[in-house]
């Protein structure tokens, strides 16, 4: 088919037999037929471009939708939830008139192809989601996963990803206050680059992505639109559909954090002057997504003149303009009387802003190009009525064998010397080693409100200077646990993030998640996915922390080999006065160390089994959500009432990992004893959930024990903060210097 004449709606109606390259654009035959049925004619090229991107897995959640519904269906009653799933990000009431919005998203594949830009634009995207809710972004976090630490490609991917996250976030002035770095061969060709952001606003400032009020103007502002991230649309733009020349349009975008910083400031200024009726960021699917979502969430229709979109490349076709994923763009709906002021603010910040259309009375989204109407659709059919798949799923046949391969039966260290060797191996292993080399590339201080940042259990930001009100966030996920049991694995991820927030003294309120899995077309992966969601939804219900939003990343797989199922969970908490926060570092010699919770022989999926035996098998630690809740209550009360001076939750690596971290951070050692009923090995390396270790000043000992006793939380005295060694009495002793070298030299040696 020749591209002249323009493929208008009229032209499409007159030429019903024209074959469109729907398959090349990623649509299935029945999906294309659906589009024809919806329109009552064949789509124009521009319409096809819109439907194909909006109905992609990434934008439509077609494989995951049926499962994600559980987050809504099982959502616990929570007064804190102001905006739930479905908007750009959820919004939580944190008191004193403040609301907080937060979300985690993936940018996995682009970060593998171009680590720096892939990761950088990941941060850019999540931050625009936060601004679009009306909030000032106040912090970012970055849960990351890479292939084996010593694999040559990790040396290409990791430094680039870290530099990209830092390069973008630092330049925006957002403190990076937490995240994860995990190495596992299963992520070799599929690193996971997840990025989260938090924003703060007053309740009355919440904004939504909807276009209402006929006559209101649609303003596109930010960067010019270029040919980035277009992929399939180039096929539509080529001279003829059957000439198969390779796409000139790059799939990777380059970010401009400076432009985004200006976008933040001018958007917030426009919000402050109440100039904005509705707003949407441009992310995946660019203008296709922004226009169809704004229109379908509003009351009317929308008319857009594509010729008015400022371009970086004048050769772009209308299809490409609609699909371009150029970064650093936003779309606002503004009343006609306020347009001038809006444009003035953009001009003040040197941001290009253009009226590209308006809200109409009807219910159609109409898009024009060179005077012809090239799109005429019901926007709901584009944005919300995408296909929904009930993909088959089945528990994989290898699951039983994996669980039967019990890690508790692995050979254990027999002597003090063996224990000592294994402790050193553990704390120096890439996964357990200090991530300082990475996190010191991130600004923690900017904005002057950072109370806690990595390597604390959760990041904490003050949001009110007068009252000391603050929020905390932690992200966690353990793909090894989830591989052994995806239902429990997802619950353990939530448990850990919840516990991390409580350990710093904040009350967990709400959840966001990023679900990273292999191909949904593999029934085994689909089972992992379904189980993980069921587990997370059940656990959120029980803990009373609703899922406010999140992100699904599928197809993280090379050939037949999928990544471990990796649900990453972010928990947001609130603390009335950040002066009461509890740090990880030991504060004072002589303080008593207590272990809270039950320690069982639980080594399935443990760091010990990985480091010492290169083993993955058995069952993950037992989930006990009521225990997590009780532990959290105790940790929060103890912090509020000044009963503890430091606390650290126990997770991968177990007790010894936590004690070593607290000792190194505080520059103070610890003398440990093996309590009755436990053996040294289990005490040190077990990964039983629902535990934390706290340091209690002697003056508080009685009060603290009474509180735990009264509420029924097991509490065991395990030692004292003391000296400049970590010693397990009768077994071994390691100097802080020795431990510091083991813990801190690993990552620089691998990557620097």
């Amino acid at each position: 088919m020749s591209r002249t004449p323009l493929d208008t709606v009229e032209h499409a109606a007159e030429t019903p037999d024209v074959e469109l390259p729907w398959a090349e654009l990623g649509l299935k035959k029945d999906e294309y037929e659906r589009v024809v049925e919806i329109l009552g004619r064949r789509p124009t090229g521009a319409e096809l471009a819109m439907y194909s991107v909006m109905w992609s897995e990434h934008c439509s959640y077609k494989s995951s939708k049926v499962h994600l519904r559980q987050f809504g269906e099982k959502a616990p009653q929570s007064d804190a939830l102001l905006v739930g799933i479905g908007e750009n990000a959820g919004v939580v009431d944190v008191g004193q008139g403040y609301a907080v919005t937060f979300k985690v998203e993936s940018h996995n594949h682009p970060s593998y192809v171009e680590p720096y830009q892939g990761a950088a634009t990941g941060v850019g995207g999540i931050v625009r989601d936060i601004i679009a809710m009306g909030a000032r972004p106040v912090a970012v976090v970055d849960p990351l996963r890479f292939g084996a630490a010593d694999h040559p490609d990790t040396k290409r991917v990791l430094p680039g990803v870290v530099a990209g996250i830092g390069g973008y976030g630092n330049c925006l002035g957002l403190p990076n206050i937490g995240g994860e770095v995990v190495f596992d061969a299963c992520y070799q060709g599929n690193p996971l680059v997840n990025a989260g952001a938090i924003g703060v606003m007053r309740h009355e400032d919440i904004h939504l992505a909807k276009a209402s009020g006929a006559g209101n103007k649609v303003i596109l502002y930010g960067a010019r639109t270029g040919g980035d991230g277009i992929g399939g649309a180039s096929i539509l733009a080529s001279e003829t559909f059957d000439d198969a020349k390779p796409s000139k349009r790059p799939a990777v975008q380059v970010g401009d954090p400076f432009q985004e910083k200006l976008l933040i400031e001018c958007t917030l200024e426009a919000f402050a002057e109440k100039l904005v009726v509705g707003i949407q960021d441009l992310g995946a699917a660019g203008l296709s997504c922004a226009t169809s979502e704004l229109a379908s969430n509003g009351s009317g229709g929308m008319r857009v003149t594509l010729d008015d979109v400022p371009l970086r490349d004048s050769t772009l076709s209308p299809e490409e303009i609609l699909m371009s994923e150029s970064q650093e763009r936003m779309c606002a709906v503004v009343e006609p009387g306020k347009v001038d002021r809006f444009l003035e603010i953009c001009d003040k910040w040197d941001v290009i802003a253009t009226v590209i259309g308006e809200v109409t009375d009807g219910d159609r989204l109409e898009i024009f190009w060179h005077g012809g109407k090239i799109v005429d659709v019901d926007p709901r059919t584009v944005a919300h009525d995408g296909p929904v798949y009930e993909r088959p799923y089945a528990r994989p046949d290898w699951q039983d064998a994996l669980q039967a391969d019990d890690a508790n039966k692995l050979p254990r260290p027999q002597t003090g010397q063996e224990l000592k060797d294994q402790v050193l191996r553990l704390v120096s292993s890439p996964n357990q080693a200090s991530k300082k080399w990475i996190t010191s590339q991130y600004d923690h201080f900017v904005q002057g409100n950072t109370v806690l940042a990595q390597p604390e259990d959760s990041g904490m930001i003050r949001i009110d200077e007068e009252s000391g009100l603050g929020v905390a966030i932690a992200t966690d996920g353990n793909g090894r646990y989830a591989k052994l049991d995806p239902y429990a694995g997802a619950q353990l991820a939530l448990s850990e993030a919840y516990r991390n927030v409580a350990t710093t003294g904040a009350k967990p309120l709400a959840v966001s998640d990023c679900l990273n899995f292999g191909s949904p077309e593999d029934p085994a992966v689909m089972w992992q996915f379904a189980e993980a969601i069921r587990g997370l939804a059940d656990a959120c219900q029980q803990l009373g922390t609703p899922v406010t939003g999140g992100n699904v990343s599928l197809y993280n797989q090379t050939g037949e080999a999928a990544i471990h199922p990796t649900p990453v969970v972010a928990v947001l908490g609130v603390i009335d006065d950040v002066a009461r926060r509890t740090p990880v570092a030991f504060q004072e010699e002589g303080q008593l160390l207590y272990l809270l919770g039950d320690t069982r022989e639980e080594f399935g999926g443990s760091a010990w089994s990985q480091v010492v035996h290169d083993h993955l098998g058995g069952l993950p630690p037992k989930v006990d959500l009521e225990r997590e809740r009780l532990l959290a209550e105790i940790l929060i009360s103890a912090s509020r009432d000044g009963m503890i001076d430091s606390a650290h939750d126990l997770s991968d690596g177990g007790l010894i990992q936590a004690v070593v971290e607290s000792a190194l951070l505080g520059g103070k050692g610890a003398r440990l004893i093996v309590p009755d009923g436990l053996d040294a090995f289990t005490l040190l390396f077990s990964e039983s959930a629902g535990r934390a270790v706290v340091a209690v000043p002697r003056s508080e000992e009685l009060r603290f024990n009474d509180m735990c006793g009264a509420r029924g939380l097991p509490v065991t005295r395990i030692g004292v903060v003391d000296g400049d060694t970590v010693e397990l009495q009768g077994e071994f002793e390691l100097t802080l210097e020795e431990l510091r070298r083991a813990h801190e030299d690993t990552i620089p040696a691998l990557l620097a």
Partner: protein
């Protein structure tokens, strides 16, 4: 000894925020008449021994696999110093 220069520039269709920032500053400096600025990287490699076809081919590989990421960048390889070319021709 010869010098080989590898110039790496962002592909024309890729956003070049640095070049744009420079261009936008020009009018403020009283400079008109420059319609576009692109900023890239220049690598100067000092090569031991003669630069023959084989060496250039290897430097081309190096540029392609390491100095540039061809997903977003183009590059060119040039022998710079005249003696070098002579040396290579020997």
């Amino acid at each position: 000894m010869a010098r080989v220069v590898v110039d790496v520039m962002l592909k024309p269709e890729i956003l070049d925020p640095q070049g744009q920032a420079v261009q936008r500053a020009l009018p403020r400096l009283g400079f008109e008449g420059i319609s576009d600025v692109r900023q890239g990287k220049r690598f100067e490699l000092e090569v031991d021994g003669p630069v023959d076809e084989a060496v250039l081919a290897r430097i081309h590989d190096l540029a392609e696999s390491f100095l540039a990421n061809t997903v977003i960048e183009d590059f060119t390889v040039k022998v710079e110093s005249e003696e070098a070319v002579a040396g290579a021709a020997k």
